[in-house]
């Protein structure tokens, strides 16, 4: 018998029962809930007269719709439809006995930021949320994946989900990253390499010396975007970095339980003889800062390249897609990425809104000013606690003095469900994870980059190579 992959270990240890065709009923340890994908699930429970199987396994927070301006948060959400949705989460969690961090709680923030921050995300867990970026939590050696609303209802009612085992893919990133190159650049480079469907049907483990060198923040950034490579599950093995991060957090095990847990967690890695159906290796030293030019995260190039020409793509479906993307993005093939001017800058989202991300942006911004052609540059921390820590370090002053806006935590312009959005035709350097048409506002044009690259673009007014900025 060959050894097991990390994914197989996590899957096998959560099987409640198995059907003949391999479908397993899996036990779910943690369920994170937000306002957008849960109302219909609670309503379904109510209509069927069902109770929660285990209310203490769930943790809820409003994030997608909340305003990022302090005054509006204090007096209540102006958008009536959004307010109803946030209020509905409050009502549902009270009625069903689920803990909720409400909009004005210091612990409120983006659901994928607060899970780890609170220690509610633990190694070895199965963790789900009605949100595709749940893959983020796999950075802790937990099996975390996004689900739809029917499954949210299923987990609330049964604490289980029906799942089939996926295949295993390993991405090895070996060597040392260059200065100014970050986790975001690694994951964008991976997506550029394998495509947005490259990981479909796989659990994707990130391994290699460059991944082990990353902080938990960096590992979360990478797992966060596994879904952008098509993989529902992203994973990193547990090591001392993981344990140190979890230690002492509010929901983390305490006392004797902590010792038991740590002993068990050290087994959370793929065995040496485990079999991966697909494996690729990247040299970290060759990865440059990345910028997306199109309307899919796989449409990405290094900052020192030109926008590619669809004429050079032989696959006609792809070439056609590239043409459509260029026209939506208002770009010409062959233009140098560094010549693309931007209108707005967004630093935030569950990909890049943690303290390390803000610190990386601040290092570039310090003592400089936002360029005149940039209409709005905003920084939206991932949680109230991150905001507080950043202010303790004086980062807010660096941002404000440069001309950035310093906002309250939430999803904000990552998906533009609240007031923060692009106007038609506006071009944005964004640290979020999706550059789909209209993602940041109808007609808006999104370029995905790292926090350092977004900061550099804000100062220069166009993309710049932060390695020599």
């Amino acid at each position: 018998m060959p050894g097991k992959t990390l994914y197989e270990k996590l899957f096998d240890s959560h099987v409640v029962r198995k059907e003949d065709d391999g479908t397993a009923l899996l036990y779910i340890d943690r369920h994170l809930v937000h306002e957008v994908t849960s109302p219909q699930a609670f309503e379904g429970l109510r209509m069927a007269g069902r109770k929660l199987w285990r209310a203490d396994a769930a943790l809820a927070v409003p994030d997608h719709n909340v305003p990022t301006v302090a005054a509006e948060r204090a007096k209540g959400i102006a958008d009536r439809v959004a307010r109803t949705q946030v209020d509905t989460l409050g009502k549902n969690t009270r009625e069903f006995g689920v803990t909720q961090f409400d909009m004005n709680d210091i612990r409120q923030g983006i659901v994928h930021v607060i899970g780890p921050e609170q220690g509610a995300t633990l190694p070895g867990m199965t963790l789900v949320c009605g949100d595709s970026h749940t893959a983020t939590h796999g950075a802790f050696g937990s099996m975390a994946f996004g689900i739809g609303t029917s499954e949210v209802e299923h987990v609330l009612a049964t604490q289980c989900l029906l799942q089939k085992k996926m295949q295993n893919m390993r991405i090895n990133v070996e060597g040392t990253l260059g200065a100014g190159v970050t986790a975001k650049d690694i994951v964008l480079a991976v997506i550029g390499e394998i495509g947005t469907a490259g990981g479909t049907g796989y659990a994707m483990e990130f391994a290699g010396s460059a991944i082990r060198e990353l902080s938990m923040e960096g590992r979360m950034t990478i797992c966060n975007m596994a879904i952008e490579a098509g993989a529902r599950v992203g994973l990193v093995a547990v090591d001392q970095t993981t344990i140190d991060y979890v230690d002492g957090r509010p929901y983390a095990p305490k006392g004797e339980n902590w010792d038991l847990a740590v002993a068990a967690w050290f087994d959370l890695h793929s065995d040496d003889d485990a079999i991966f159906e697909h494996e690729i290796t990247l040299d970290a030293a060759l990865i440059k800062p990345q910028v997306t030019w199109g309307t899919s995260p796989e449409m990405v190039v290094a900052v020192d390249s030109d926008v590619p020409d669809p004429v050079n793509e032989l696959d006609t479906v792809k070439s056609d897609g590239m043409q459509k993307a260029l026209s939506y993005m208002g770009l010409n093939a062959g233009v140098a990425v560094s010549e693309i001017n931007i209108d707005k800058v967004f630093i935030g989202s569950c990909t890049n809104s943690r303290l390390e991300d803000l610190q990386q942006a601040a290092d570039i911004i310090k003592g400089r000013k936002v360029a005149d052609n940039v209409k709005l540059a905003m920084i939206v921390p991932g949680s109230g606690l991150i905001k507080q820590q950043a202010e303790k370090l004086g980062l807010d002053k660096i941002f404000l003095e440069a001309g950035f806006e310093w906002r309250e935590p939430g999803c904000s312009m990552c998906l533009a469900m609240n007031a923060d959005k692009l106007e038609p035709g506006e071009r944005c350097a964004s640290t979020s994870n999706r550059n789909f048409e209209g993602r940041q506002g109808q007609g808006g044009r999104t370029h995905l980059v790292s926090p350092a690259m977004a900061a550099g673009a804000a100062i220069a007014g166009h993309f710049v190579d932060v390695r020599n900025f």
């Binding site: 029917s150 499954e151 209802e153 009612a157 469907a197 479909t200 038991l260 897609g321 998906l415």
Partner: protein
Amino acid sequence: MDKFIKVTGIVAPMDRPNVDTDAIIPKQYLKSIKRSGFGPNAFDDWRYLDPGAPDIDNTTRRLNPDFVLNQSPYDKASILIARENFGCGSSREHAVWALEDFGFRAVIAPSFADIFFNNSFKNGMLPIVLDGEIIEDLFNKVASESGYEITVDLQKQKVITQDAEEYPFEVDAFRKHCLLNGLDDISLTLQHANEIKAYEEKTKQSAPWLFQK
């Protein structure tokens, strides 16, 4: 959940890869706390020329005449064909609700994103994977004859064109059973409540921290 046994209908062609769930139902409509009523806003950005919002009456908006689902007879289509990686992006089940509310019962593509694929089954909608070349053929047929119809027979696991060509497709046995009978997953799972409790008891011994309050 609606049963899915056999559906015959007009096929609408959506000739793009990577149709994402943001495109299928843009985020401003996700503020609804209901499960129905998303149909008029399916593919909103492509379908209308002026911007929409949850409180705007869609009948007052200008339709984009170039968008396939605004053209007769595709506005009455119940089967959608598309290119690779259909349904990528966000996990929003609203995408499936919007397609269903529009009138679609099946989507045929060379590949689907996992979460969308899964969500479809929970709502009585069938995602069918067919080979890229067969899809290319279907696109050609649909282009050559307005109102081209096909039948999706789940029992036999076949797509049957109006020229009586048959293409078999794969479907997971359990999902097929649920769709054919319109079964609700939750009641099926709750039949195993004792096994879930037994799993919990065992885990409380081996990993007590997972149950600490």
